[in-house]
Symmetry: C2
Subunit: 398 residues, 2 copies
Amino acid sequence: MRRVAIVGAGITKFGVREASWKDLVQEAGKAVFDDIPNLDKKDIDSLFVGAAQPERWVFQTHVAPLVAELLGINVTRAIARTEVACASGQAAIRYAWLSIATGLSDVALVLGVEKMNTKFMNVSQSSMINVGNREFDGANGFTAPPFFALAAQRHMHDYGTTKEQLAMVRVKNAEYGSYNPYAQFQKKVTVEKVLESRMVAPPLTLFDCSAITDGAAALILASEEKARQLTDTPVWILGGVQHVDAAHTTNQMGDLSEWVALRKAAKDLYSMVGIEAKDIDIAEVHDCFTISEIIEYEELGFCRKGEGGKFIEEGESYIGGKVAVNPGGGLLSNGHPLGATGIRQAWEVVMQFRGEVPKERYVDGAEIAIAHNLSGMAQLHHLMAYSVNKPQDVKFGR
Amino acid sequence: MRRVAIVGAGITKFGVREASWKDLVQEAGKAVFDDIPNLDKKDIDSLFVGAAQPERWVFQTHVAPLVAELLGINVTRAIARTEVACASGQAAIRYAWLSIATGLSDVALVLGVEKMNTKFMNVSQSSMINVGNREFDGANGFTAPPFFALAAQRHMHDYGTTKEQLAMVRVKNAEYGSYNPYAQFQKKVTVEKVLESRMVAPPLTLFDCSAITDGAAALILASEEKARQLTDTPVWILGGVQHVDAAHTTNQMGDLSEWVALRKAAKDLYSMVGIEAKDIDIAEVHDCFTISEIIEYEELGFCRKGEGGKFIEEGESYIGGKVAVNPGGGLLSNGHPLGATGIRQAWEVVMQFRGEVPKERYVDGAEIAIAHNLSGMAQLHHLMAYSVNKPQDVKFGR
């Protein structure tokens, strides 16, 4: 199987943007082409677009060929839009990775985009119900904030995790976001400020939640041969898996603070890559809510189960701690344009490995990174692993 | 690279169904599991769902994990929903194929589904505008029927193709559909009947058009090792490509009756598989309109450019002719539930290869089949090739 690398990365400013969906696509396209000026656009043979709900937010489907048209890409091998709600972007990276690994594709454009802020915000917001099992979760108002609030309540009950510890996740990610000019929120916050912000779903306040965001990000992926021609700093894909707890929000699910699918996915990924949790220098994780990041510390093996609160309190997820978690500010600072988030995480990894981020959020000497998305009510977990100096053959099989 | 085979296939009745989207998923799931009783559901490690616009038609996104939940699938390797409008199903097959070819997955469930007939048919129908470039094509009413009507007008002008020849495509596909108990329309028709049906977009009458349909279909794909354990009639995937004309409906496009992207895609596929057009026994092609099938004869190389009308008139696309085109009745008889169509085509190929279709539509001795989808305004063409007795290593690279 061929080795696959990310050779170019570009991003738009995330936030409440005046830009249309198409504007965002073109802005991210320009950014990625500017990032790799020696790439001949004609060499791109494939295109994968991560987008969650353009059908509802911008009344558009068949979005992959539309991106091809907007960016002038002449697809001759493979094209698709991928959707797994909040992890739609990472699914696009995975499809491109497999296409190049087999030899079907040589150079692929991967673009994630979501335009969520529209003139019809009641529709924009209520459409988030569609991510759950609509007739059950939706009809009962069991959307993301109440789900993650229950997970937090359970975690606090079982392990003594405190509201202050939840807030500390936002404090860390806000600090790193303050050095990220593309982030939706670039102001530092204090624990007090998080606790004082308005209640959304107890114990989660507004500042415990990520936002509804417009944004796009794009990558160029290439085979090893092409990658060596195109860049001196290829970022290698070492592996990737996805695990599902089929029915997280029904009675088939156990303890809401235990994300068993993530635990299994992490074990699977580390085995595929030949690493242990302690080998990871950078972890881009899906902090859609502060509690998410705390549970992810545990299930990814950075600390023991139940000790996620202590992990942030003791600074272990800061740069310089055991593992730098979300040094770009995470979803909490960047916002969460669903289809773009997975691509934004990969962009952050590329920029970190190249040293092209402000020094205040730079993870010096990092060689291994993982990116984690979750989707839905945390029942589906998506992992990828990347390295900068260590290309290796991927162990696809078990 | 590992060889990949289809080892199981199941389908629902297509048509205007009382069944909900979830009912269709479960019906197709039951059908595919019944088809391969010796498969242990626990061996399925991956799931790919083809679905075009569940967001608009059933207010549901994040559909892949929902299918996992409904069917009790425990994903431990890869999962995604794929969307490329009318070819969303084939994109799901492709993702599964690449996942298994690399070794990431061993056994994958692929399911295509669309619920298009709802209580709000004005919304259901107008949502088809979203398939085009909405602000341009949609705002000008340039949806599928007028586009394919223009292609037909141009073809008639350039090559002398007649309305009767268009109608003959429907006559053939209606005949085969009459022997397909899963098809939406199972009545034979005459050329006169087609010509007399109400005008939709000149020269296309109602019977020149495929319908708005509810339906689902599912496949089990497996590695060669697993396939040999599971079935005596594995259907091998020999190759697959997609080509795009980036901007079919803008001024970048030339003659509407020339589908250059399909011509190039066919050349690419035949080279990948090591065949010529004359080697193909069965062609499942995307007859969304009668004119589509005529142009496809030409661009797929079954006859010379401009001779598609003559090809149907001389019976060359009937079973026993040069190539059996749409022996299951095509989209014209089956209807076109967008996400399910690509899977339905593969189901037909599997049933043909196994000889599990009524003798009136059975292509005896067939060994090589292709499946063709188009999406949007025919600017994007999707091809796969299958064989029953001839497994071979896929030449992924050029």
